[in-house]
């Protein structure tokens, strides 16, 4: 090897950063199901085949009502899709999934078959954060998968910093928090202190099924089941873990950077 090898390698490969969002997003594998669509109107009468197969209790069906699926609790195992005899629950293959309000993740009612994607921050916050957003990441009872796929956004293929978004070491330097994990009781104090240390105005982003609703560990007494039980959350990004593309899409929607 010569000292120039890394340089010639760079020249040979050129720019490896994806074209998205200006160009097409990267192609997801065929077995990646994407977001879900729930058409309660299609439910057979008295059928609740999907309810017991869901590992995270994301699906309910009250007597006389159509099925209700909470995409915030969902870990996207697709057991319900397989169990449904009338194809009321289907995979859409769509990667955008971030929402601003928790209730926008509830699917099933007429007109609410799919999630209601996030709208941008208000003008004042967009002016502050739209071109420069510094986030402090807090892993609180996570499994290191959401953390890993948030980290991926910093690699050359994704290059998050081209949007002015960066992860910083100190909450004092941050405009907000990005939280992953079930929020274990053992992290409650640390999360509260970190939030308090971020100067106002500040935003909070909850990434992954655990941070939204406890994920696979929902209901365990050792966890608090959501970031929103401790701090106000401005953006929910579902998934287990969400694909990096889903996370990036959510961040850009929040900042009004997607057309």
């Amino acid at each position: 090897m010569s000292a120039f090898d890394p340089i010639t390698h760079r020249l040979r490969h050129g720019c490896q950063t994806m074209a998205f969002p200006a160009g097409a997003p990267p192609v997801l594998p065929d077995r990646h199901g994407g977001s879900l669509r729930v058409e309660g109107a299609k439910c057979a009468e008295g059928c609740a085949a999907c309810v017991p197969v869901c590992p995270t209790q994301a699906i309910t069906r009250a007597v006389g009502n159509p099925v209700a699926l909470d995409l915030g609790k969902c870990i996207f195992c697709a057991a319900c899709v397989e169990a449904c005899p009338t194809k009321a629950i289907t995979q859409t293959g769509k990667f955008p999934m971030a929402v601003r309000r928790r209730e926008d993740l509830l699917l099933g009612k007429s007109g609410e078959e799919e999630l209601r994607l996030a709208i941008a921050l208000d003008e004042k916050l967009k002016k502050l954060f739209g071109r420069s957003l510094r986030l402090r990441q807090v892993s609180a009872g996570g499994c290191n998968a959401c953390e890993a796929d948030v980290n991926v956004l910093g690699t050359i293929g994704w290059d998050l910093s081209r949007f002015g978004i960066q992860f910083v070491a100190s909450p004092r330097h941050a405009d907000g928090l990005l939280i992953t994990g079930t929020v274990s009781r053992n992290m409650e104090l640390a999360l509260k202190k970190t939030y308090a240390a971020v100067p106002s105005p500040k935003i909070v982003i909850a990434v992954g099924a655990c941070a939204i609703a406890g994920g696979p560990f929902i209901g365990n007494p050792q966890i608090l089941n959501s970031a929103s039980s401790i701090v106000p959350v401005d953006l929910f990004i579902p998934g287990c873990p969400p694909h990096p593309l889903t996370i990036l899409d959510g961040l850009l929607r929040l900042l009004g950077r997607l057309e």
């Binding site: 077995r31 697709a78 290191n144 690699t155 696979p216």
Partner: protein, 493 residues
């Protein structure tokens, strides 16, 4: 009562009726376990089983060169027993864990304090070891760290730049994994196993599936075992590549750092090609696998694998050829072979201290019975050795996949397992990318989990990082830490 002479011998991925496990009164059991370790054994697990009349201690000991596991238990104890840690330090955390959960005091344990117990809104860390002296200062780091990583607390005792002692306090990620398993399997259990340590989804999911299959007296179809072995090596490739990049990044060697960051993602995408999820979620289930790797998909995977392997080869070469990067790795954070054996290191960290220790080789189960894997060992015990072992394993995993993808066994990928046997103990170990993932289940009279014990490789290895930092400059902590890259959640459970 008659005291038994010998432990029950079994192999990886098998089970034994609980009543067949020999028992000793506690003090004799500790002595018998110590004797087994002295004749070449290694403590894979030491845990508790509750009974009305007290708590039983259970030991799983591996005899690597004999491909055998030895199992024994104590009669129920209340209050205390003589500490095994005094004889064999590798028991230190296991004894703390049993004490934390049952109040059973290991008499003479030199550092008895909580492991992960909750104390209000934070873990009960207990008192930290403190070096006294006018020139000593203490550095306290975490639980929230500077990067995007899991939480843990590090307490350094320093004299100037030199670290005299590091104490690592964890527990922040505790989600109640083992507690939730009692009375299971439940409908969430498979998903919980996949997220014990989310970067080791295949490792933990395979161990769990093997446990249920073994308890039911069956095994997964060969093609499913083949798929699991392939997914396990893809998991290893992604993580090892990420680690090489992270190590390069920590010494500001950016070419390898940025290349490996991207290639790691390419390996994760191969797992997604197989099952739709980059971490292998939803691939494995008790009884087999959910997704097949058809010929066309296998060919696609192989083609992409070859590109990624060529790229990682190039990126690693820059690192090894860079004298300045190597100089930062060599003789930094050394753990001697003797220390490694005493504290019971496993996985990459053990092999980098020259220990021949790999479940795929020593205790082959599943597909590894038919496709053996050589052990990648490097002497030295320093950061360089840990990086080098990863590099050797990247090459071996690549070769393994190239061979295996071309030679799939025919058949189904799933077969119903049936019900787990009652009152039975099962042990399953998998060589995850960090090291030995060990699961143990004991069923009750209805075949439900009475006790389920999980030992992530990190449980053995965190103390290795603490030892590696002794006498080291505190500025070397990041590369020492990355060279181990241990799991917080896998430890905290």
């Amino acid at each position: 009562m008659n005291t038994p002479r010998e432990f029950f011998l079994m192999s990886n991925g098998t089970s034994v009726p609980w009543t067949d496990v020999p028992e000793w009164p506690a003090a004799e059991f500790v002595a018998a376990t110590a004797a087994e370790i002295e004749r070449g054994g290694r403590l894979c697990a030491w845990f508790d089983v509750s009974e009305n009349s007290g708590t039983r201690l259970v030991a799983i000991i591996a005899f690597d060169s004999e491909n055998t596991l030895a199992v024994g238990r104590s009669t129920p104890v209340t209050k205390s027993y003589p500490s095994l840690t005094l004889l064999h330090p590798q028991a230190h955390l296991f004894e703390r864990e049993v004490w934390e959960q049952h109040g059973l005091v290991p008499e003479g344990h030199p550092w008895l304090k909580p492991v992960r117990r909750q104390n209000g809104d934070h873990p009960a860390n207990g008192k930290f070891f403190r070096v006294e002296g006018g020139e000593i200062h203490e550095v306290s780091v975490g639980p929230v760290h500077a990067g995007i990583i899991e939480p843990g607390h590090f307490r350094f005792q320093c004299n100037g730049e030199e670290v005299l002692h590091l104490e690592i306090a964890l527990g922040y990620q505790h989600r109640g994994v083992e507690e939730a398993l009692a009375g299971g399997a439940h409908r969430a259990t498979m998903s919980q196993m996949e997220t014990v340590a989310g970067d080791t989804t295949i490792g933990h999911a395979t161990a769990y599936a093997t446990i249920l299959e073994s308890l039911a007296g069956t095994e997964a179809p060969l093609r499913a075992q083949w798929l699991r072995a392939i997914a396990l090596e893809l998991e290893r490739l992604a993580n090892h590549t990420g680690d090489l990049g992270a190590l390069a990044g920590d010494v500001a060697f950016l070419p390898t750092s940025s290349a490996c960051g991207k290639i790691r993602g390419d390996f994760l995408n191969l797992t997604a090609l197989l099952c739709g999820n980059r971490f292998g979620r939803g691939l494995i289930q008790p009884g087999g696998c959910k997704h097949d790797l058809e010929a066309e998909r296998a060919a696609q995977l192989l083609a992409k694998l070859r590109v990624a392997l060529t790229e990682v080869d190039e990126a690693a070469e820059w690192l090894w050829e860079s004298n300045s990067a190597r100089a930062r790795f060599e003789f930094t954070g050394t753990v001697s072979a003797k220390q490694a054996a005493e504290i019971g290191l496993v996985g990459v960290a053990a092999r980098a201290s020259g220990l021949v220790r790999d479940v795929r080789f020593d205790h082959p189960a599943g597909w590894h019975r038919f496709a053996p894997m050589p052990v990648a060992v490097w002497p030295g015990g320093d950061v360089f050795a840990r990086a080098r072992v990863r590099w050797l394993e990247i090459q071996r995993s690549g070769k393994f996949l190239e061979e295996q993808l071309g030679a799939p066994p025919d058949g189904e990928i799933f077969a119903d397992t049936g019900s787990p046997a009652a009152d039975t103990l099962a042990v399953a170990m998998v060589e995850g990318w960090r090291g030995e993932v060990c699961h143990i289940a004991l069923t009750d009279s209805a075949g439900k989990f009475r006790r389920y014990k999980i030992v992530d490789p990190s449980f053995h290895n965190w103390i290795g990082l603490a030892l590696a930092m002794r006498g080291q400059a505190i500025s070397d902590f990041p590369i020492c830490n990355k060279s181990f890259n241990l799991s917080y959640c896998g430890f905290d459970l």
